[in-house]
Symmetry: D3
């Protein structure tokens, strides 16, 4: 039900195929999920988004890979992005998320949604001690 | 600019004061932030929300305290809850978040917002491999 | 901090003033809140929005006025519209909302935010019995 | 397309089954909708969420059951939670919502979305008379 | 999966049919998309919404029709309204949007989502030069 | 009230200053708004975001600069990002947006929010003719 046709690897332009090859190599898997096949309609956009995603998510950093995936899920759930929730929950599991860790993630994100709603309803003023950049 | 008056500890009902005392004890600090002073207008709600927050956030669990705060920030930013962003960013720092970790958090949550938007615009169908509960 | 100047009644165009007069008359009060003074920059928009608001909110209907205000608050909180939360919470109080009713409203809207988040995270498929229009 | 398998009543753990039994009893129906069967993967979460939902929604209170369902729908629509919209619209109908009341609900929630958007675009400052907690 | 049955043209009330006829005439096409067939359950709502949509979208104005469709898409994507994204992307294409223009639209809306998220996370104070209505 | 201190040009690191210089040069103005001064806390993030913003917004392209700003505003309003609304409304005016064009923008974004809400409430199924990528 996409708004564009997904581009199969075989039909991708050379510029797009270069990015798709790097996705396969970086992940060590031949499977390419639909997001990248949709972006392949616009090779420069595909290249920019993959470059950024690779830099942020697939590069060793101060936050471990599973923590980054859980943060990604938290944003995706709050935005209600169904595809993103499915793909990043799968990615988190591939990176070792256990059912118990997932259950905890659910508790944190749903508590946050609830208290966000209460705070917003009550229009609580920010405590002075929380202010930094003034 | 709240929609209710904040209840000072001195003016709180005995039922509310019991919760406020537990907040102070759990956190090892006399300071009580405005969210709880607003909820103190309705002691049963204050008690329920604090009980849940304490259970999820202040209890030792599979996810470490800083990871939980960063997930909380991710939801709060996506919901645009100003108070929540301020208070949980402060909490994350109190639990050891460094400027470099914060910078990484910003990269993950902003990348997620961007790709969420792209996926939603393109209405990408969920890949079969991501589906679990069918 | 608006993106436009608020138009005082005295400076409003005749077309805008006609609408502002109707707001005063309908509400039985000389006070006009800032939303309408901002819309007065574009009299046709002011007229269209007030006409719709008056028709939906200020006309006797199947839902009583307080119920409509509480539904309005629920949407405004979920959208995080600070001005709207302030103005409609004030309107609900003017229409009789008690502190206990307000506390219940908070419980419902925050529970809904929490379960919405859980359902979205889990990507629950819609039960067949809930489907109507197929 | 859930991110977890739904747990059938027969496969539920004793702890989960106790909650599922209470859902059936409270509602006077054998049918259990998918949300609870998904939460049954984590019995303590199932228990906490059902306990809160029962307390807020299924207990006699100052707001009548239909009003609470309509407020729930308002939040769910604004959050774009498809499952929640389907289930709570069905619940509201089961509690007596007529087509004419539903049409009015649609008018209020869509008007609210529209004026929220206008207010946010215009960044209207909150009128002093609306401020309470200062 | 709608929450109401779609009303076919043949089954529509005379009041609804008058609006449906105007939709066909205005668009120069017999096809009526599902949104209007759902609203046909409540003829006055159908009439109000079509009247507003026709006035804003189908009337010659300062903004050209394609620009208005792209702005509509931007809102719909950010709200995550799947039906709206599909229908307005189709409408934009019918009004001449090329693949290259669509790719640019995607770049702008995803960049905006990303910087919105960064700004919200950082809680940047508004620069004085940006303030108008004070 | 930011969560970080704004970095003045004088206190910026050489890497950050290079980006700030390019912002000044690209815009032909010495003024640097607070967003970039906040990002200057993390020079690589500043560089990445400015590079992307410059490429998308400040480069000649198929969409004219004002159209891009109006699309940006549409996203920012829907996300409720106050700073972004202020800064991009100012930018749109600097690029020639007239009060009448602004009034039209308001009509489109508020109509979109309203119909998005109706469509979501009614859970309208996507018409087959709107589906492309299957």
């Amino acid at each position: 039900m996409a708004t564009v046709k997904l581009i199969g690897y075989e039909n991708a332009s050379p510029e797009a195929r270069e990015v798709l090859d790097d996705i396969r190599k970086t992940r060590g898997s031949d499977f390419i999920n639909a997001f990248w096949l949709a972006l392949a309609n616009d090779p420069p956009l595909l290249k920019q988004v993959w470059g950024e995603a690779k830099s942020v998510m697939a590069t060793a950093s101060l936050l471990d890979p599973l923590t980054k995936e859980m943060i990604y899920i938290a944003v995706s759930v709050t935005n209600g992005c169904s595809y993103c929730i499915h793909s990043h929950t799968a990615a988190a599991r591939a990176k070792g998320m256990t059912p118990d860790q997932y259950a905890e993630l659910l508790k944190v994100v749903s508590l946050a949604a609830k208290t966000n709603q209460l705070v917003t309803a009550l229009q609580i003023p920010v405590d002075d001690v929380f202010k930094v950049g003034e």
